[in-house]
């Protein structure tokens, strides 16, 4: 189902590597501070920012609850406006459709807007593999493509790279002169991509929202590359996850206010495109054909699971990453796949299968900052807890690994010990004795088999007296 090999199970190695990057850690600290301040200011400007946030969470909850019905209405209205709606069950189907369409059109040049879902299905790589020259046109994503990396953050895919790194990259790959001025680098990208916009036969984008009421898709951006991709080529293909639909235009504008404020702290982005069908008769630009590919790719499986369902309320603003104590230390690469930050710790395991992303949902503090800030109302901390529970239970419906036999035996024994007071007393006494003897030195590390527990923390010395002992003594004393 997944085209690019995820590295989600290399979490430990990736974390170690990324924590050692001092420059990146400093940037993450700044990024988090700046974004939080901008975000808080922009919400503070609203008549009632808190009510607006809650309103948005309600809209997303309602939209997800009525998802299939809204999708039907969306399809009906989009079709009426002249768009062609295509349904794809997984990455392979979506990619195959788009590639065969591109070939049918005789296309050899394609421009892309930044889209997480196309990243998820590996669309760019597939197009290139099939001989269709494809360029990411969002500046950050363009840099990511040239560098052959993954997005570092949902909204700012290359924010971790220094001016020098980008300069070297542009010099090596595009042959531009080296410079320390980010303006020159930006203009270099402008010059390089301008011909592509003019010449491309196909423009590919995602969609921030699909509006059931009108059959429109809404695209939010600052650079104008999405406007080019949806205006210049003769064919526009929008890949839209099933969860992107909202009921009405007024719901969409409400979400828009929250989205831009949460993404970048802007009241509104520089450009918002509301696209309803392809160009009409007499229009000289805009695509002749608009294809909207509605993609499932594992989302209906998430939908069927009550504990996980709210993950689909995410609007991909990326704010949870900026407020997360884990992300702001380890950065985006550590998440090993397309989605990063707290929502990545939820979506990567859910979309790839729990067994393929074992560490992500464990490596969280459960502080709940992500939930407090989330404009979509995703209950990330509770989903993380449920993921841990399902992984423990070896839930096959989420493709969790079978838990190791040793672990099973251990927990059976542990339960058996806890079931009886006397057993508990004897075993805990024994355990304390062993620990005390073994730990005459300072920090006992648990022996093989249990050493995982002490890999990242010390095993504390047991107290001289157990709680039960103390309780018994105190009771005696109280009785006096």
């Amino acid at each position: 189902m997944v085209v690019i090999e995820p590295e989600t199970n290399n979490f430990r190695e990736l974390v170690r590597e990324n924590l050692a990057n001092e420059q990146q850690r400093k940037l993450l600290g700044d990024f988090s501070l700046i974004l939080k301040a901008l975000r808080d200011f922009s919400f503070g400007e609203m008549a009632d920012g808190h009510a607006a946030l809650q309103g948005g969470q309600k809209i997303r909850e309602y939209a997800v609850n009525s998802l299939p019905y809204l999708l039907e209405t969306f399809e009906e209205n989009a079709t009426k406006a002249g768009a062609k709606v295509i349904w794809a069950r997984d990455a392979r189907e979506a990619n195959a459709f788009i590639i065969s369409l591109a070939k049918e059109k005789g296309a050899d040049l394609c421009v892309k807007g930044k889209s997480m879902v196309s990243e998820e299905i590996g669309l760019r790589e597939e197009l290139i593999k099939n001989g269709i020259d494809t360029y990411e046109t969002d500046l950050g994503e363009f840099i990511v493509q040239l560098a052959g990396k993954r997005p570092f953050h949902i909204v700012g895919p290359a924010i971790n790279m220094s001016v020098d790194e980008v300069s070297c990259l542009f010099n090596q790959v595009l042959g531009f002169d080296k410079t320390q001025n980010p303006v020159d680098l930006t203009m270099a990208a402008r010059i390089f991509l301008r011909d592509k916009f003019e010449g491309a036969q196909i423009g590919i984008t995602g969609a921030n929202m699909a509006v059931a009421e009108t059959g429109s898709i809404i695209l939010v951006e600052n650079e104008g590359n999405i406007r080019f991709s949806t205006s210049a080529p003769e064919t526009h293909i929008a890949v839209v996850g099933i969860e992107k639909v909202v009921p009405t235009l007024s719901d969409a504008t409400h979400m828009l206010k929250l989205l831009t404020r949460s993404c970048t702290g802007q009241r509104i982005s520089e450009y918002v495109s509301v696209i309803t069908g392809p160009r009409k008769a007499g229009e000289v630009d805009g695509p002749e054909e608009l294809y909207i590919v509605i993609l499932d790719n594992g989302r209906s499986r998430i939908y069927a699971d009550e504990a996980m369902k709210s993950a689909l309320q995410c609007i991909k603003c990326g704010l949870c990453a900026a407020v997360c104590p884990v992300y702001t230390h380890v950065g985006g690469y550590a998440y090993g796949w397309v989605y990063s930050g707290p929502i990545g710790a939820v979506l990567n395991p859910l979309l790839l299968g729990l067994g393929k992303a074992k560490h992500l949902y464990q490596a969280t503090t459960l502080c709940g900052a992500c939930k407090d800030y989330c404009p979509g109302g995703v209950d990330i901390p509770n989903i993380l807890l449920s993921l841990r529970e399902r992984a423990m239970a070896g839930d096959r419906s989420l493709a969790a690994d079978r838990p190791p036999v040793r672990q099973k035996i251990f927990y059976c024994l542990w339960t058996w010990v806890l079931m009886d007071r006397l057993r508990y007393k004897i075993v805990s006494k024994l355990f304390r004795m062993v620990l005390r003897i073994a730990g005459v030195g300072k920090l006992p590390i648990l022996p093989a088999g249990l050493s995982g527990w002490t890999q990242c923390r010390n095993m504390p010395q047991p107290a001289k007296k157990s709680f039960h002992d103390l309780y018994a003594e105190t009771s005696k004393w109280m009785a006096l």
Binding site: D30, F31, N65, S66, L67, P68, Y69, L70, L71, K80, I86, W87, A88, R89, F97, T137, L139, G140, G156, P157, A158, I159, M161, P182, T186, A189, R190, R194, E198, T214, N222, E223, G224, R227, F228, S231, A232, P247, T248, L249, S250, T253, R267, I268, E270, Y271, V272, S273, V274, T276, K280, G282, E283, V284, D285, G286, D296, Y303, A304, K309
Partner: protein
Amino acid sequence: MMHSATNRSIILNRLKRFAVRPDAPIESKIAKNRVHDLDALYSSFSQALTANGGTVIQVNKKDGALESLENIMKELDADTAVISEDSVLKTLGLKEHLNTRGINVLKGEKNPTAHKGTCFSADVGITGADYALADTGTIVIFHGKNNARLLSLAPPAHIAIVEKGKLLPDIDTLVAEIGPSRRDLPSAMTLITGPSLTADIALQAIYGVHGPKKLYVIFIE
């Protein structure tokens, strides 16, 4: 081979087992019509767009608009322009006027490839706007036969000439305004709030990454 129709029913049926049918009609909530003071809206618009890197100018009538347009063209050192078929621009006699001032107004092309060529080569794109939103400093363009999309995008500068009466308080009033004719939304409606912007390299804000480096909005009283 993929069968979109089969996929459609598979996906929808799977979802419907866990979904709730919408309990309200799928219709936008329409904001109440508020009485608004155009001068207050203008000042809010001007403040918001200026903060976002745009330039806002208010002029009296036709002559003022043409004069300030000329000044901008001089400032930009622009030789060529593409202009939309917006009725405001027609009333101003913009094309004729610019031609007499030595600015080459490129011919509007009917062929998409030729049209792209002119838009990508012009120094300035001049358009009208269907609405202007005061609280964000946004202009709203309904693209269509008379308002091609690339005019306000491909040239390195965009000048919009807007009647002051097109000002609305915010995006909610816009939804209310276009509400009754929602089914007839244009193929593309674009909300523009400043020049093209990026902060993708080292978080530094830079204008003009792909689209216009400069945006001017001229309001006619």
